[in-house]
């Protein structure tokens, strides 16, 4: 007997430890859920952490209104399967109430508007900890993120003044009105996520797999044709064989040309890919530090 865990089992154990620690240290946690693979993984790990009891906190979806239809169907199926409560924070509602202002122009996106609805949902629900599925390998600002990440009463992140995290001792102390963002899958890479989801046979929304779709290309990014994206006159819609590597709002998530039709194909594809998954996200390309800038304001 070697008493050595596989790397996936060790990552699983670390994430479960973090999730349980939050239930022990906080009064009213909530888990952000977008319907993408990372939040599916995170909620699946939460299910494992409290088994055979049910997940003791609700999931929160910040809905931009610009979703892929299939991820919404999947979301409702998954929530029912887990037996967990779902809350929805609506960006459309914030726009209707004039609390958020829609971006204009061809690259308009509701991505940044999620921050307002997220902070409002956290405030309204009096949540003191919000789990997010961010991973350190995703993006350079996220590489600096803690497992327990403090947010002040304005929901702001102060990257230069973060609490050191040593061993497995997590400090979730805070003043009232402040909250924490918790990142239980910090140490997972994109490949780890896929390998684990494959090993555990976790169901996934169909748009992660290769399919035919009407798309157009802008600045090297393949966008799905939809009513939410304004096309320029010279942008031509074509049917392409694509899949999505990340799932976000339709206005900022690009597809990749792919024939990968099952998880094993995807693992092979990622193993030899020379581009990161966020290479398809136009929201990160706005400036060199756009993720850090958004995170400081309260984005996840």
């Amino acid at each position: 007997m070697s008493y050595q865990l596989s790397h996936l089992k060790e990552l699983e154990s670390e994430s479960i430890f973090v999730i349980r620690e939050v239930m022990a240290q906080f009064e009213n946690p909530v888990m952000l859920f977008s319907g993408g693979k990372d939040s599916i993984l995170m909620s699946y790990l939460a299910f494992k952490a409290f088994f055979p009891a049910k997940i003791p906190f609700p999931l929160l979806h910040i809905d931009t209104g610009h979703n892929f239809e299939v991820t919404m169907t999947f979301r409702d199926m998954w929530v029912e399967k887990l037996g967990v409560k779902l809350l929805v924070g609506s960006v459309q509602e914030a726009i209707d109430n004039k609390m958020s202002v829609e971006e204009k122009g061809f690259n308009a996106s509701r991505n940044a508007l999620q921050t307002y609805s997220l902070l409002k949902s956290i405030e309204d629900g009096k949540f003191d900890a919000a789990f997010g599925g961010g991973r350190r390998d995703e993006e350079k600002a996220r590489a600096k993120e803690r497992f327990f990440s403090h947010r002040d009463e304005f929901g702001q992140w102060d990257p230069k003044n973060q609490r050191p995290e040593l061993w497995n001792l997590f400090n979730g102390k805070k003043n009232s009105g402040e909250h924490f963002r918790i990142f239980p899958i910090s140490n997972w890479t994109e490949l780890d996520v896929w390998q684990y989801l494959s090993q555990e046979k976790v169901p996934l929304p169909s748009i992660y797999f290769s399919h035919k779709r009407n798309c157009f290309v802008r600045d090297g990014v393949i966008y799905s044709d939809s009513d939410f994206v304004n096309k320029r006159p010279n942008e031509k819609v074509e049917e392409m064989q694509v899949r999505f590597r990340t799932i976000g709002d339709m206005t900022c998530t690009g597809a990749v040309l792919s024939h990968a039709s099952c998880v094993e194909d995807i693992i092979n594809e990622i193993s030899i890919s020379r581009v990161t998954e966020r290479g398809t996200r136009s929201d990160d390309k706005r400036t060199e530090t756009s993720m850090e800038d958004r995170k400081k304001l309260g984005y996840f």
């Binding site: 790397h7 350190r136 600096k144 990257p159 497995n168 850090e292």
Partner: protein
């Protein structure tokens, strides 16, 4: 085939080639992607830097990029078919001791870089001392820039000897020396043709094969209770599970156990997980233990074996690394976290301050500022169930919390 996970830490300054080495490891394991390379190429050009600055890969924060320094711990990932690696990359300057300590706290391996032209310098010693204080099980000393000293065996041997002389004063178990050129790739992945006299491992081979299974303490059974699982559903009416992470030892179904602090005994009825029951559990597994007897157990209690118990103490002595701008004061009160226990503590005495360049103990200096390391005596409001840090990283470590600001102000290793 399943692969294992290895965490290693590096520390270094701008010029010793650390970024180049990390860049090389990521590049050679195909973990740098085109869009990342393109982004840092563009950023390097904007800055008017000639070559691509690989440090921009890890220096992700705006302030770091502006000042050209690493401020915080940056985590990088790469994997080979054999192992997944997590690098905690930390700045090496003395004012960032707290970040080095943080990166070292969970590492299996410390990678120390020495510039072959300069040999063992103050910073090398500092890294070795921190690796030793934090009891990192394996140390690999990469003697870098060998191409700039004509791949000289003599220079390599001299540095090896100097380092070994110094390391003899420390408690470092396993040291490996590798002559490399991170820039040219010598002895990184492939054996160097330029150094036929070197018969040891390449860095990649070492990292892929270093034996880490016994880094965990498998002898002393310690299970700090983290959270109680009670389903309150018809199917699991009487279910009362104690969930947590096995920090050391191997727990088996049927084992007799003792609960601290009550001292009550029981037997392990079941080791439960969402994937089904297990016959045994070992570190660092997260599991749920069910006991044969109905006992009053809550978070902060510890499940151990009756014939092998930790010490139950309210007075502890620790090596403390201080993290905060506000000085540590004798008579000061702080929050303390140890395993899943939270308590308060009083600083009774500062015994000495350690010079982390020379190992000199200064008993007359009790002005403890940010990044200082000192030996202190604490009195806690509750008993802690402790082992010495050198025997158990997880029952031998604590953090201190400022009760006004809630910041983590110090980290301690129990002596």
């Amino acid at each position: 085939m399943s692969s294992s996970l290895l965490r290693f830490t590096t520390a270094g300054s701008v010029d010793d080639g650390k970024s180049t080495l990390i860049g090389r490891l990521l590049y050679d394991s195909k973990s740098i992607f085109e869009d990342q390379l393109e982004a840092i190429q563009q950023a390097s050009e904007r800055r008017g830097e000639g070559a691509v600055n690989l440090a921009l890969l890890t220096d992700g924060l705006k302030a770091e990029r502006e000042q050209g320094i690493t401020i915080d711990v940056a985590y990088r990932y790469f994997s080979t078919p054999k192992r997944k690696f997590i690098i905690a990359d930390t700045p090496g300057h003395i004012q960032y001791t707290r970040n080095m300590v943080t990166g070292a706290s969970t590492a299996n391996v410390a990678l120390i870089l020495v510039d072959a032209r300069q040999g063992v310098v103050e910073q090398t010693k500092r890294h070795a001392i921190i690796a030793s204080l934090l009891q990192i099980p394996h140390l690999v000393v990469c003697i870098n820039k060998m191409d700039l000293v004509d791949f000289s065996q003599e220079i390599f041997e001299k540095i090896k000897e100097d380092f070994s002389d110094f390391a003899a004063k420390l408690s470092i178990k396993d040291v490996e020396f590798i002559p490399v050129s991170a820039l040219k790739g010598d002895n990184i992945v492939n054996k160097s043709d330029n150094m036929p006299w070197y018969l040891g491992y390449t860095l990649f081979y070492f990292l892929e094969n270093v034996h880490i299974a016994s880094d965990n303490n498998l002898t002393d059974c310690r299970f700090p209770v983290q959270f109680i699982i009670r389903p309150y559903s018809d199917n699991f009416h009487d279910y009362r599970g104690y969930s947590g992470r096995v920090v050391s030892g191997v727990f088996k179904k049927g084992d007799e156990v003792m609960i601290l602090p009550s001292g009550f005994k029981s037997k392990i009825q079941k080791i439960d997980t969402a994937d089904g029951e297990l016959q045994e559990a070992y570190p660092p597994m997260s599991v749920t233990l069910l006991l044969e007897d109905d006992l009053d157990i809550s978070r902060g209690d510890m499940i151990v074996r009756p014939n092998n118990t930790p010490e139950i103490l309210q007075d502890i002595e620790i090596m403390l690394c201080w993290f905060n701008e506000k000085r540590l004061t004798v008579g000061g009160k702080y929050g303390i976290k140890h395993t899943t226990i939270e308590a308060r503590c009083l600083v009774k005495d500062i015994l000495y301050k350690l010079n982390i360049n020379t190992l000199h103990r200064d008993e007359n200096d009790n002005v403890i500022q940010m990044n200082d390391i000192c030996r202190v005596r604490l009195r806690t409001t509750k008993p802690l169930f402790v082992d010495k840090y050198k025997n158990n990283r997880y029952t031998g470590s604590i953090i201190l919390i400022d009760e006004g600001t809630n910041e983590t102000v110090g980290a301690g290793m129990i002596i």
